[in-house]
């Protein structure tokens, strides 16, 4: 049912996600939905939460790859679900799925040499920038820019964040601040 709502949002936009439309896709009357959901707001909450499902579990590898991999996954999710993704900014990341993703970032930052006391704030800064970009792209602020341009912008943003992390690290880093990211095929 949440999947049905997400599919409708992807295909026809947020406004098309109506109790009637979701019910119809399930072959049921609108009132049947109230068995599984308190009201429409509750439905929307569930659909937004469903997005987090797509963020992959923390992979292996060096921390730079882990972070850029997560960032890429977030952007990809935004592109896949442009009308729902912006709603992510409306709720604190307190659900189990959200915590999992956040703690994955903590681990990577710790490995990068970020002081434990600064982990949370640094994560907030990074995720705000990445989410800001992903939402901007999904919501249409960058409508007039080419895909190539956006890929380039995003790469530059990640490079900036990587350099920031290195500069905040208490451990001596390598010479080169951050490796170049591979361009997606």
């Amino acid at each position: 049912m949440l999947a049905a709502g997400l599919a409708i949002a992807d295909e026809k936009g947020l406004d098309a996600v109506t109790m009637g439309a979701v019910a119809a896709r399930l072959g049921v009357t609108p009132m049947a939905l109230y068995r599984h959901v308190a009201n429409k707001a509750d439905l929307m909450d569930g659909i937004v939460e469903l997005l987090l499902t797509e963020f992959p579990p923390p992979p292996a590898g060096p921390w730079t790859d882990r972070l850029s991999g997560l960032a890429d996954a977030i952007r990809a999710s935004a592109r896949r679900h442009p009308s729902v993704f912006p709603l992510l900014l409306q709720r604190p990341a307190t659900t189990p799925r959200a915590r999992q993703a956040r703690h994955g970032v903590y681990a990577a930052l710790e490995e990068a040499g970020i002081d434990t006391a600064r982990l949370a704030q640094t994560e907030r800064l990074i995720s705000t920038a990445v989410l800001g970009f992903a939402v901007s792209e999904a919501a249409g602020r960058f409508r007039s820019h080419s895909r190539r341009q956006l890929d380039d912008d995003f790469a530059r943003l990640l490079e900036l964040l990587g350099r920031f992390i290195e500069s905040e690290s208490t451990r001596p880093g390598t010479d080169r601040p951050v490796p170049a990211r591979p361009s997606s095929p």
Copy 2:
């Protein structure tokens, strides 16, 4: 009429901005609104555009102060209009007001020594990060954080961006990357 709609959004949220509610605030019937606006979407566009009015014209002073002043103004606007502000991410900044703000940033970046060819992309990076923070705060993603914490986060974000600009500058900068921002009283 746009102001009436914005006021309703501020007071009771986006859902309360209804043709009937706006009309009632103006002492008129809902149908009268269709003289001034094509439909509700058009009304919402106008309300969002109205937000840009609050962004102050580029002030005088060193570029660091100009940029942080604009960033502060943007965040203040987001806090004042939490339900409408996030909609800014849905439209390209192509209106005259938006261009004005953007060109103010260009001028500051040029003064900071950013290469002309990189002006637009650098501006996009910076405004994405600042808007991402402002929208996150307005929309409620940071609901569980204190005002002090958010002020601190924002200061750190601006510091990061300032350092980034310095590092991208083709001119030799001063020793200290960016001046500390004064805390608001």
